[in-house]
């Protein structure tokens, strides 16, 4: 982030934080700011001239602003700018780096249901909807945005070895397990073309006892 005219140091770290395309602008107060410093946010598309004021983030004391809807076009790049004003007519203004949600967003762990059986464990991965809408208005899932997205499932067997399953479908089952035994599952979303990998969803599961004779 770079300073346009630095009459006072009221701002620092003006940047986007993006997770699953939820784009939040955040910033920190500078060494000269005071509790009654107020902040106003503007944004614009890269390549356009005018800055647009973000309603709801004008003369606010909070240090974040949700710009998800304003930065939701995946083929566009954006800038956001924060102007801080402090009593005594001191002010400061800083702009973000060029922002592309496709490049910058991180992927949250998937939502998974782990279902233990006697000699297997089933894992059902639920779709992840994003705030991004298609031209016909329906909410896009991560799978629809990242064509190469796939799931990687690991089942750790008593710290000795792992069972791996992988694919684009959402239902998996680890077979051939020992009854009445605890396992640790880790399920990750990957989009390799964008070098994106979510943190794992973890589930600790115990297979059911075998009551057959």
């Amino acid at each position: 982030a770079r300073t346009t005219e630095d009459t006072a140091r009221l701002l620092q770290y003006v940047r986007f934080q993006s997770r699953n395309f939820e784009n939040i602008l955040t910033w920190g107060s500078g060494p000269d700011s005071t509790p009654d410093t107020v902040y106003s946010v503007e944004y614009k598309r890269y390549g356009e001239k005018e800055w647009l004021a973000k309603a709801g983030c004008q003369r606010t004391t909070q240090k974040y602003c949700n710009l998800t809807m304003e930065t939701g076009n995946l083929t566009e790049l954006y800038y956001a700018q924060v102007t801080a004003v402090s009593p005594g007519r001191k002010h400061d203004s800083k702009k973000t780096d060029r922002f592309s949600s496709l490049q910058h967003t991180t992927i949250k762990p998937p939502d998974v249901t782990c279902i233990p059986k006697v000699r297997s464990i089933q894992m059902l991965i639920h779709p992840t909807f994003t705030p991004i809408r298609s031209e016909d208005g329906h909410q896009l899932t991560l799978e629809e945005i990242f064509r190469d997205l796939f799931y990687h499932l690991e089942l750790r067997v008593n710290h000795t070895y792992q069972m791996h399953l992988e694919g684009k479908q959402r239902e998996y089952e680890f077979l051939g397990l020992t009854p009445d035994t605890e396992f640790l599952g880790a399920i990750t979303i990957l989009a390799p073309m964008w070098s994106k990998e979510s943190a794992p969803y973890m589930c600790r599961v115990k297979t059911l006892p075998d009551r057959t004779w």
């Binding site: 890269y46 356009e48 790049l77 060029r98 592309s100 073309m193 964008w194």
Partner: protein, 151 residues
């Protein structure tokens, strides 16, 4: 890229190279109200047309942008990114063989018109500023190229 096939290039390597220098390069570009690779240049490009367009763009980047941008590189980190991008663009460009068939004439002309939009925007700027802007827009180019990447 439609009829053209390129193998042996992993796009994530190009992304990593660009991301290493992105902040430095894009912050050298103060003209945020101008975009060279405008949406209308890259939108709705057919597979068949993509080979012509990517070939023209990569050649331009090699012969004009990278060739002249090199002298502006101060940081070693940017130098490595630059070299990786330039050499990988060279690999892609050398493997692209746009068809010269007559029945492809209208498609190649359409690609040429799109490419000229980019060239005109480039030439309307001060050369130094245009070089910096074009290098800073490699991410737009990679994002578009990625659409044609076969899994």
């Amino acid at each position: 890229f439609g009829p053209c096939r390129v193998e042996g290039v992993v796009l994530s390597e190009l992304w990593e190279a660009f991301w290493a220098a992105k902040s430095t390069v894009q912050n050298q570009d103060d003209i945020t109200s101008v975009r060279l690779l405008k949406p209308q240049i890259l939108q709705d490009v057919s597979d068949a047309e993509s080979c012509y367009l990517v070939h023209s763009l990569l050649k331009f980047y090699l012969n004009t942008v990278f060739k002249n941008y090199h002298s502006k590189i101060a940081k070693f980190k940017t130098l490595k990114s630059f070299s990786s991008l330039a050499n990988n663009f060279l690999v892609i460009a050398s493997k692209l063989q746009p068809s010269k068939d007559k029945d492809m004439l209208s498609i190649s002309e359409s690609a040429h018109r799109r490419f000229m939009l980019f060239c005109r925007a480039f030439k309307q700027m001060d050369t130094e500023a245009a070089l910096v802007k074009a290098f800073g827009e490699v991410d737009i180019l990679l994002t578009w190229m990625q659409k044609f990447y076969q899994l």
